[in-house]
Assembly symmetry: C2
């Protein structure tokens, strides 16, 4: 059993912890919080040993009736590998701690590529992570882009990618962020950081991305255009997506034409926290014009799509599974993937 510590039990960390706990070959040896919060109660409820950043705060946890197992240092020492899901930029500061303890660690997309030196996507470069000490999981949007670009690049070759990301303004529980009634250029300059971030995993792709933020809370929406190298048909493209283990097709017959309706659907399917781990590609939108011009809309659940990538990355770094698809299938099965369309 791989002993996994989740440093930072927030939006991503709590999902990774549950995903680790669901795997047959891993266990959660601890999760961490800095202060008393609803998520600290959830950690206790789930039975994950809860470690805190500073034991001086233990009285506050005690007063709240939350059990504390020790400090973060103690947690790191008993782990084989750490998933660092702390806020963006904090991971970079934690790296020296992991180094001094000789521990493996996975950072999230909020950290720069250079922090780990290797950016990861299970379908694109699993094998590069085998045995590595540090790896970074690219962000939710980049993960969503890489899945679809890599899949079409393998099948038809990708000449160039032009993608526009409509990003959610805040996570559902994030009551301090906006906007409320605005479309915010994010950034106003072109390109956005997503294109360069794709290159950390797929360096040969010609890609330009643009991004805006809108007043929604659940899932980003991508408008993607690619010029393919070989001629393709809509049917052939759909077949590639259907065969992909982390792409879900949102069937036309469902009548779903928005992220909100898709969330209702993942909820009805019984997904934990209504999570959409796959790319949600809208069947109706899949188009091939002029033989080589591919278009689609896809929904990317910002809180969820990187979760299975973290799990596969653990196996690659721990060298327990060498074949990418074997790990992906294990992960998907343990999470209980049910076809979304």
């Amino acid at each position: 059993m791989i002993k996994v510590a989740v440093n930072g039990y927030g939006t991503i960390g709590k999902r990774v912890a549950d995903a680790v706990a669901a795997q047959p070959d891993m266990e959660v040896v601890g999760v961490s919080k800095t202060s008393v919060s609803a998520e600290a109660y959830v950690a206790n409820e789930r039975g994950y040993p809860l470690y805190i950043a500073d034991l001086a705060n233990k009285p506050a946890f005690d007063a709240a009736g939350i059990k504390v197992a020790g400090d973060v240092d103690a947690m790191l020492k008993i782990a084989d590998i750490i998933v660092d899901a702390t806020p963006g930029g904090v991971g970079a500061k934690n790296k020296s701690i992991y180094e001094s303890l000789g521990k493996k660690a996975i950072f999230q997309g909020g950290e720069k590529h250079e922090v780990a030196g290797l950016s990861f996507n299970a379908h694109a470069n699993y094998k590069d992570a085998i045995g590595k000490q540090f790896t970074r999981i690219v962000s939710c949007n980049t993960t969503g882009l890489i899945r679809v670009i890599h899949a079409l690049d393998q099948a038809f070759g990708v000449e160039r990618v032009r993608a526009v990301m409509i990003r959610r303004g805040a996570d559902p529980s994030d009551v301090k962020r906006g906007p409320v009634d605005a479309i915010v250029l994010n950034p106003a300059t072109i390109p956005s950081h997503h294109g360069p971030d794709v290159l950390t995993v797929l360096p040969h792709i010609n890609i330009v991305t643009l991004a805006m933020i809108v007043p929604t809370t659940f899932m980003h929406m991508h408008s993607i255009q690619m010029d393919l190298k070989k001629e393709a048909t809509r049917e052939a493209v759909l077949k590639v997506f259907e065969d992909h283990s982390r792409i879900g097709i949102v069937r036309k017959d469902t009548g779903i034409k928005s992220n909100a309706q898709l969330r209702e659907y993942t909820q009805d399917l019984g997904r934990p926290r209504t999570d959409l781990w796959e790319n949600g590609i809208f069947e109706e939108s899949v188009s091939v014009l002029n033989g080589k011009e591919f278009y689609c809309f896809q929904a990317i659940h910002q809180e969820a799509d990187v979760v299975p990538e973290n799990i596969d990355c653990i196996r690659a770094m721990m060298e327990t599974v060498k074949d990418p698809e074997e790990s992906i299938q294990m992960t998907n099965k343990a999470l209980g993937f049910v076809a979304i369309g």
Copy 2:
């Protein structure tokens, strides 16, 4: 003085009426409403003779203290030209009335191209409308696209256009529409109707458009990519925009990066109803990559950008001004255009 009747005193009609009243060569002979509303009070307040669809409703207007000049038929008879700003589809039904009275009429983008047989944009095809009985002003989004495409086509030639429109969910006072927390594919299929609508004015352009609706009320945001025929520089493109009489540059130095901040700015500039009649192109976003790939973001005020187009169209159809730029300058001056950036 050209006698103009505005049939349908709503979101567009009330703005067109004010724009007509501001011109030195036109007057508003009447505006119409079907029922008592805030806008009917505004018509009285502005001093526009108010005509109503059915005189049987006059007692309701009387009871509300709103002066009524007569029925719509009487208004149409005293007009030289009618701006039909009735809800989409109603204009097509009104056409036979205008025909039987031998009147000229301008329809809005909610009507099909075939209703008028000519779709209009002042910069692109003013001269085609000279002397015509019927013309249609293309919709707000299409107007915004045509301005920028035509300008770059004249300067550099346009090989192909790929544009993504992020549309406002509802007008500010439209309390019955949504969405509240969703990104809605509009439509989920590709292309959206905007590309084909551009072809009604610029038939030689290779264009594909995609559209989504988001929970905002003020202005659409366009993400535009064009492959140009000739090499261009960012500076040369900015010069084309600066020289265009209906394109405004949102300067980087203003710090404006969203429609909401742009609205605050048009408000501070003293624009009536905070209207942005021009395309609002964000200076920071104007990019030329690889010599021929143009990118930009632009804000399009859905309630306003077609208003000056209606004014120019009146002059072309009435044959009082034959030169497009002369009419455009008259219109802009009368409206009191102040550089937005």
